[in-house]
Structure formats: structure tokens, C-alpha cells
Amino acid sequence: MRTTTTIAAIAAATTLLLAGCGGEEAADSEASSSLSMSDPWVKSADDGMTAAFGELANDGDDDVTVVAVTSPASPMIELHETVDDGSGEMTMREIEGGFVIPAGESMTLEPGGNHIMLMDLTGPIAAGDEVTFTLELSDGSTLDVEAPAKDYAGANENYEEGETDHDMGDMS
């Protein structure tokens, strides 16, 4: 799992999300109050599958687990990791137990790494569209994120389950 220090996360985070980084904010014990997502974006696609990325930061004292993500853009969304399949080839697969962001740390969702996989788009996502995601955490709390869509030629990792390439997004 890719993690970086809190300092890195803060440096990358947008100011809006920095508000509660004092550390001792015990008043609200929901996990969503200590989790933020900065620089979210989703790869544009006409149909089929695509993926969303960004930086998840946990500035709380307890680990936070993202167990599921929902969005109007796709009825089925999975949390994926990219791993070495043993032969040196990187493949992606659904991560067991969700994304765990340890206390005070952050996790980068990026092409070639962990990502949010939209399995079946309800309609085209064009560059510049804003896509809403709801992150569901293990304690039942949620975090809403608005991610702009960008054209992106990469993020074409292989799927562990299949033999063929699955393009995460259909660039036209």
C-alpha cells in the first residue's frame, strides 16, 4: 500500500480540506470528519469502465477504512489495487477490506496504483464534467467528493481476472 506522510498530504491538499488539521478534534468522532480527498479527478470515457483518482488524507487519531464508493455515474463501483501478479506484470484487482488509511497518513489513488473503478457508466463522462462520488467508511459515515473529468491516455492496466486489456476509459 502506498502511504506518504501527513506533511506530504497537507502540502498537496486544497485549503478547504485543511481546516481540521489541528489534530485534537475529538468532538466529532465520525471517521468522515478526519478524512479528506484532495485533487480528485476521473478519467473521461464514452461508455464502459473508467477510474477515479485523488489523494485521501486521514488527519485523525484512528485508522479510516473506505469500504465502498457510490456515484450516479455508475451503478457498480469497485475499489481496486494494482499488484504484481508474480510474473512481474502489474495487474489490478478488487482490494480486500477496502482502502485503509492509517491515522495521520494519506493514500494516493493514481493511475497504476490504487484507484476507484467505475464498472459500468450510465452515460458518457466528458472532459470538464463534474462527477459526484460518495465514499462510505467502515463506521457508516460518508464523504462526498466532486471530481472533474479529464482526458487521459494512460490508466490502461491489465485486469487480473481476464486475459485481455481493459481500458479504464474509452478515449475518443
Binding site: W41, G128, D151
Partner: protein, 402 residues
């Protein structure tokens, strides 16, 4: 593979220690182990030019009255069929986000070369709208009367590949690698909305080669741009005051080929006569310092004007104080072809509140008579509306597109 801060920070400190070592006169051999010395000393490393930024946000877009950096690339884009106002809003939101981050020294979203974004080097990204952009965004009523191709001039030999365009993106910085990366990023994000019609790259003196504020020289060797607008005139003559363009301006871009081979045949006196200024320092032929006012009445012993009737500065000069423009030019120098040894010229750019009122009368006089026309040929011409700037939550073009 890792991109965490723990990876980046040592690189930064290595860069700083090299600079610090050089400044302290430490030789290359001694540089080994300087790391420890630098870490223990509290003296700050000298600042790098590459870290300097130009604020993207404001009433006006950057890149207009901003001191011109050494390198610039101008992109002229054609909108794809079917790109309507809604799509243009998405496009400008994406491009604004790219520009906002890159000018701040941060990678754009989905930047596949984020390491190239860490040296802003006074990067500015400026957007301009051509007639078709404005009409697709908000209809013909939104198009200012001056937003159209310039009237045809007799000296023009315009080529389509250097002319017109729906969207202008001016990318400028002190570092050409910074410019190239920003150009790549904005073009990738424009690709599903527009195609590249032209790309024009220009240069001035490198940062630090001359004192800041020195008037540039063109490839004829002339001091070019002495009689430029003063800052106190910007509100009156550069910035538009009303409508969706309030806080914006207009941009005329002319690609002017300069025939260096023919120019070589002209002696020094002839070169100075053609312009009316001295080559040495740009002083008018009636003065000694660059910024001396030209005396158009002065005559020589034969009774002829010292600054000739056909000279460039006499023809460009106007008695009307409104007929002035803010010039911001760059040189270009491409690979020669055939028997040529040069394919060079000037990317002439001028900002003004009203093209028809300020630019066209001056150009008309130069078209009628200007000895310089013998060696210069306009081969490209475009006019763009430069919308106002935006705040941290806004985007360029919002006054037109919302």
C-alpha cells in the same frame, strides 16, 4: 515509482546545496560532503529564478502588462464542430485549472510529467477568444465590433497557417522547458474540443542577460519597442471598461517575416534612416538617449528632415494620444530552407482597449509608407478578445460563458 514528499525533499536540498556551494566559492571537489555542512548551517540558499511565480488570479489576466519573460509560445486553436457554449465552459474550466496550478509551480490534475511542473519560472498562461468562440459562447451580439480579421493591408502576404483562430493560448516563462510542458498540458486538455491551427514560438534575451526593463532588440539588431505605453495609461488605453470584457483587452498578433539577407545589403546609415533611430542605443536620430523624444521638425543642412518622411517612427507616430498600443513582441528564428540561411522575424503582439480606434490607424499609416516594409512582410494576422482575469474559485471566460 514513489512520488511522496520524502522523495522530493532530498532532491530539492541537493539542488540548493549546489547553488550554495557555488555561491560560497566551494570547488567541485569540495562539494562532496557539503550536504552535511549545508544541513548544519542556518544560512538560506540563494533563491532560484525558477521558483518565481506570477500570480494567475486578479482583475486582469497575467501576461498582458506583465514584464515579458524570455520565452513564449502562442497557440491558435480551431474549435471542433459541435463544441457549443456548454462545452466551452467545460473547456475553460479545465484550462483555467491547469493554468492556476502550473503558474503556481504545481502539477496539473492528471499531469503525466508532474516533475516538469515544479519550476514555474514566472510562467503565465493567457487566454484569448476569436470571433467564432465568442459567437458560439453567447451569440453574435456578444462579439465586439473590432473582433474580426484586420482590414486587408497592401503589404500583407498572409498565410492561413499563421492567421486567425478561435482560441488563443499564450504560454510564457523564463524557462523553455517550463513553456513546453505547459503547452503540452493545455493542448492535451484541449484536444477533445479543438485542434491546433498554429503554434508560434518566440524568444527574447535570456533572463539575467540584461538589466530588467531593457527594451528588446529584434533580429535586425534594432531596439524594438521604445515608444511603448506607460503604466499610467493602462486603464485608459489597455483595459476595457464595460461589458463582459470589463477588465479585459484585445490582442493583435502579427507574424512579420524579416528578410535578413536583403537587410544585409543595407549599410548602417541606411538602416538607421529606415527606422529613424540609432542602432547603438535606439535614440532617435535627433537625440542621444533611447527615450529622448523624437524631434520630427528638425532638418539637416540641406533642409531635409533628420527623421525622414518614410521612416518607421515618423509613420507610426500619431498626434492623437488615443492612437497608442501596448507592444509585447518576441523574435522567431526557424530552420532555413533551400538557399535561405535564415527564416526569421518578429511575433508582433499588441494589446489595446479598441483595435479599430488604436491599432488600425497606425497600421494604415505604416501600410501606406514605411521604408521598413521593404524588408518586412506580414505573413500572419489574428485578433483576439482577452477576457478579464478571475479569482481563485472562478475561471477565465466566466463573464461570457455564465
Amino acid at each position: 515509482m514513489t512520488t511522496g514528499d520524502d522523495e522530493r525533499r532530498p532532491q530539492l536540498s541537493r539542488r540548493r546545496l549546489l547553488m550554495g556551494g557555488a555561491a560560497a566559492g566551494v570547488g567541485a571537489v569540495a562539494a562532496v560532503g557539503v550536504d552535511a555542512v549545508w544541513r548544519s548551517s542556518s544560512s538560506p540558499a540563494p533563491p532560484l529564478h525558477g521558483d518565481e511565480t506570477v500570480s494567475f488570479h486578479g482583475t486582469h489576466q497575467a501576461g498582458v502588462t506583465t514584464a515579458p519573460p524570455a520565452h513564449a509560445t502562442f497557440l491558435g486553436l480551431d474549435l471542433r464542430d459541435g463544441v457549443d457554449g456548454e462545452a466551452l465552459r467545460r473547456l475553460m474550466q479545465i484550462l483555467t485549472d491547469d493554468a492556476r496550478r502550473l503558474t503556481d509551480g504545481r502539477a496539473a490534475l492528471a499531469d503525466s510529467e508532474p516533475e516538469l511542473a515544479t519550476v514555474p519560472a514566472r510562467l503565465s498562461v493567457t487566454f484569448g477568444f476569436g470571433p467564432r468562440f465568442v459567437e458560439r459562447a453567447a451569440g453574435t451580439a456578444a462579439r465586439p465590433s473590432w473582433l474580426r480579421p484586420l482590414p486587408a493591408f497592401g503589404i500583407d502576404r498572409l498565410e492561413e497557417r499563421w492567421s486567425d483562430g478561435d482560441l488563443l493560448i499564450q504560454v510564457a516563462a523564463e524557462d523553455p522547458l517550463t513553456v513546453a510542458h505547459a503547452v503540452r498540458m493545455v493542448l492535451k486538455d484541449s484536444r477533445s474540443f479543438a485542434t491546433v491551427r498554429w503554434s508560434q514560438t518566440g524568444f527574447r534575451r535570456a533572463r539575467g542577460s540584461e538589466r530588467p526593463g531593457t527594451t528588446m532588440r529584434n533580429l535586425f539588431g534594432q531596439v524594438d519597442g521604445t515608444a511603448n505605453l506607460a503604466a499610467e495609461e493602462f486603464d485608459r488605453l489597455v483595459w476595457i471598461q464595460e461589458g463582459w470584457l470589463a477588465g479585459g483587452t484585445s490582442f493583435v498578433m502579427r507574424r512579420i517575416h524579416m528578410d535578413l539577407d536583403e537587410w544585409d545589403r543595407l549599410d548602417r546609415d541606411g538602416r538607421e534612416q529606415s527606422v529613424g533611430r540609432r542602432l547603438s542605443n535606439g535614440a532617435p536620430l535627433t537625440g542621444t538617449q533611447e527615450h529622448d523624444e523624437p524631434d520630427f521638425e528638425a532638418t539637416n543642412s540641406l533642409g531635409f528632415p533628420v527623421i525622414a518622411e518614410f521612416s518607421h517612427i515618423r509613420r507610426a507616430h500619431s498626434e492623437d494620444p488615443d492612437e497608442q498600443i501596448l507592444r509585447r513582441a518576441y523574435n522567431y528564428d526557424l530552420a532555413p530552407s533551400g538557399e535561405e540561411v535564415s527564416d526569421s522575424g518578429l511575433i508582433f503582439g499588441s494589446f489595446q482597449a479598441d483595435v479599430d480606434r488604436q491599432f488600425v490607424p497606425v497600421q494604415r499609416r505604416l501600410d501606406e509608407l514605411d521604408l521598413l516594409n521593404k524588408w518586412t512582410v506580414p505573413i500572419g494576422s489574428s485578433v483576439f478578445a482577452i477576457p478579464p482575469g478571475c479569482g481563485p474559485d472562478g475561471y477565465i471566460g466566466e463573464t461570457l460563458l455564465e
